[in-house]
């Protein structure tokens, strides 16, 4: 630890650098360079002069109205308050106008949407039972374009940093929601597509939740997506198409989207729409869900790692996605798969075969394939998605891949699932995977059951499930992890689940023939 600290102690800005930075900031932010500045007031409440115990009494709390005005003024645009005595001090004739309802709640909404627009440089139009707000994309593009990522960062940070990750609500605030909607579009579609429009419809009776979201990724393509489907929604621009498809989800909302132009646009619509309303994508997942897949986390974690490849006409994961924690990659690929499944991905195998893709979909699952060589009579396939709680499902998917390849006339030379089974052992591998999954569910239940969330797993439990090592297998399934291991084979085995917390290893052991006896032992362990 000392070595590390020494290493980092070395990394400081020089005094000269700090002074230069201060001078630059003073020039740019003169109001903060003076005594009594209007910045956040931090008061010392600790006992020592050098204590870090300080309290902020609070920053400037702008009223919602003033905040919205400030935002718009910062944009260099003009703000026009309809039927309001308050006029914007910097309104300029001839500029694009942003019209907002003077009622505060709507201004709050306007602010949220405005943030989203600023982030993404896209046009966002609000319609509803009240006087809406229109932000011209040209105006917005001029606004803080260099700061869009910063604004996103701020939103990210402020989304609610105090909430423990485990209990973070899935339902976002409207600001968060609007931000996500817009940010995801930017991330997934790039800056080149600027003509997208989100139309958010709010009920006057419940201004806290959008009544409908209509997404127009491409107006020329004449396609849109609305969620939820509301009979009296203004659908003048909504294309339902000749091959309209309806999906019912358990909440009773009906999704309508056109399959006229079904690959790219439809997928985009589903993707954006689903995120916008925080679906768990179960309606898209279909059999995946039925097969035991679930997703309880924050979808936003993955948005940077799913992009739409226009050439391939499908969603893909950029290479950096696979540098993430394996548990994230696993879920990421489930999500990506679900998205592609939604666009009717029929020829994924062909794309893999030609090297254009790395994700293979089966009838009710999918498999990430590192490499597959089908050039010869036999093929060699290496899967990258074999770890964790989903191993059983992946095993099943793997079997289907094998079957599909066999149907296409390919015979395997070998499999490499990090399990090293020969083809004749496929069924055994599958059974083992299922058995292991059950084992880990048992461990999770004993160790974390009372504190786990509605999924019965919880993030800690999920993380545990994602990393284990099976010593009975010669190659091991997860050899680089220290935390969990199974010793034994068949019906007689012991699970050691070690969890590092507060500088202490807590070891849970579970013996297969003593299912009710989970012992717990804590011990101090060296850190480094």
């Amino acid at each position: 630890m000392n070595e590390i600290r020494r290493y980092y102690d070395d990394k400081k800005l020089s005094q000269e650098q700090k002074e230069r930075l201060s001078a630059m900031l003073k020039e740019r932010f003169p109001q903060y360079a003076k005594e009594g500045a209007a910045g956040p007031v931090i008061t010392k409440s600790g006992t020592g002069a050098d204590t870090d115990k300080a309290r902020v009494k609070g920053g400037r709390y702008l009223s919602v109205l003033a905040a919205a005005a400030a935002l718009v003024m910062a944009a260099g645009g003009a703000l026009y308050f309809k039927n309001s005595a308050q006029k914007p001090p910097t309104a300029q004739e001839g500029t694009e106008q942003i019209t907002v309802d003077p009622q505060q709640i709507y201004l709050e909404q306007a602010k949220s949407i405005y943030h989203a627009a600023v982030e993404t440089s896209v046009a966002i139009r609000l319609v509803g039972d009240y006087n809406g707000m229109t932000i011209d994309s040209e105006t917005v593009r001029e606004v803080l374009s260099s700061e869009e990522s910063e604004i996103y960062n701020e939103n990210e940070f402020r989304s609610d940093p105090d909430l423990p990750v485990d209990t973070k609500p899935i339902t976002y605030s409207k600001e968060r929601y609007a931000s996500l909607l817009a940010y995801n579009y930017r991330e997934d579609c790039g800056q080149s597509l600027e003509e997208i429009e989100f139309i958010l419809t709010f009920d006057k009776s419940d201004p806290t939740q959008p009544r409908a979201v209509t997404v127009y990724p491409d107006k020329e393509a004449d396609i849109g997506f609305t969620y939820p489907n509301i009979e009296n929604t203004d659908t003048d621009d909504l294309t339902t198409g000749e091959e309209e498809t309806e999906y019912e989800d358990p909440s009773g909302f009906k999704t309508v989207y056109s399959r006229r132009n079904e690959s790219r646009e439809t997928a985009l619509c589903i993707y954006l729409g689903a995120q916008a309303v925080q679906w768990d994508l179960s309606h898209i997942w279909g059999d995946l869900r039925g097969a035991g897949f679930s997703y309880e986390g924050d979808f936003s974690d993955y948005r940077s790692f799913i992009t739409f490849d226009e050439e391939q006409g499908r969603f893909v994961n950029p290479p950096q996605a696979f540098s993430m924690d394996p548990s994230y990659v696993c879920t990421l690929e489930l999500l990506t798969g679900a998205l592609n499944e939604a666009v009717g991905d029929e020829d994924a195998l062909e794309r893999i075969r030609s090297g254009r893709s790395t994700v293979l979909f089966t009838e009710d699952g999918f498999l990430y394939v590192d490499s597959i060589d089908l050039s010869g009579e036999h093929y060699v396939m290496q899967s990258g998605l074999t770890e964790g709680v989903y191993a059983a499902e992946v095993g099943k998917a793997y079997k289907r891949v094998i079957a599909k390849l066999a149907a296409d006339g390919y015979e395997p030379a070998s499999y490499d699932l990090d399990l090293g089974p020969e083809r004749s052992e496929t069924d055994r591998v599958y059974d083992e995977l299922i058995q292991q999954k059950d084992i880990y569910r048992a461990v999770e239940k004993q160790s974390y059951g009372p504190e786990s969330d509605a999924s019965g797993i919880g993030s800690e439990g999920m993380d545990i499930l994602m990393r284990y090592e099976i010593e009975q297998n010669s190659e091991g399934l997860y050899s680089d992890d220290l935390c969990y291991r199974i010793v034994g084979s068949g019906e007689s085995f012991t699970v050691y689940a070690e969890f590092f917390e507060d500088n202490r290893w807590t070891v849970y052991t579970y013996e297969s023939d003593r299912a009710d006896d989970v012992s717990q032992d804590s011990s101090i362990s060296g850190v480094f």
Binding site: M1, R5, D10, K11, P40, E150, E460, I464
Partner: protein
Amino acid sequence: MDIDIDEIVALYSDTVYRAALTCLRDPHEAEDVVSEVMIKYFTVCGRLEIRDQEHLKAWFIRVAVNRCRDILKSARYRKTAALEEERAVSAGMSSGMGEEELDLKKALSQLDEKYRTVIYLYYYEQYKTEEIASLLKIPKGTVVSRLARAREKLKGLLSDEEMST
């Protein structure tokens, strides 16, 4: 007591710099991040609801890490990443660092960004794992596992280093 620019810079610029350097491994990029984050702060500080100095520090780290991730994702950075790694190690060699520290620095620089970041937050900033989880918006278990793996990787890298010498 009011905080002005000099104080904010004095209090947090090193923290931001270290976080950025840990993520990016490039002193020049890290300096740019410090500037950007400071500008960001003075741009938005009127809207921030900061509870205390620790909260403010967390804000700086979080924004710095986010900014670094933006940079890491950028095409420009991906094209130059390999060169920057060399530069980071070279910078250590020219700073008169001891051999042992240089080995450690080299080993750290070889870790993936996700591992470097948790190592930095845990050992240097001395955040608890749950605090790191909150900062990075990842599950606590993931923080723990990344720490464990980072330590293992460091051990391996340092062992290799010893073997080679």
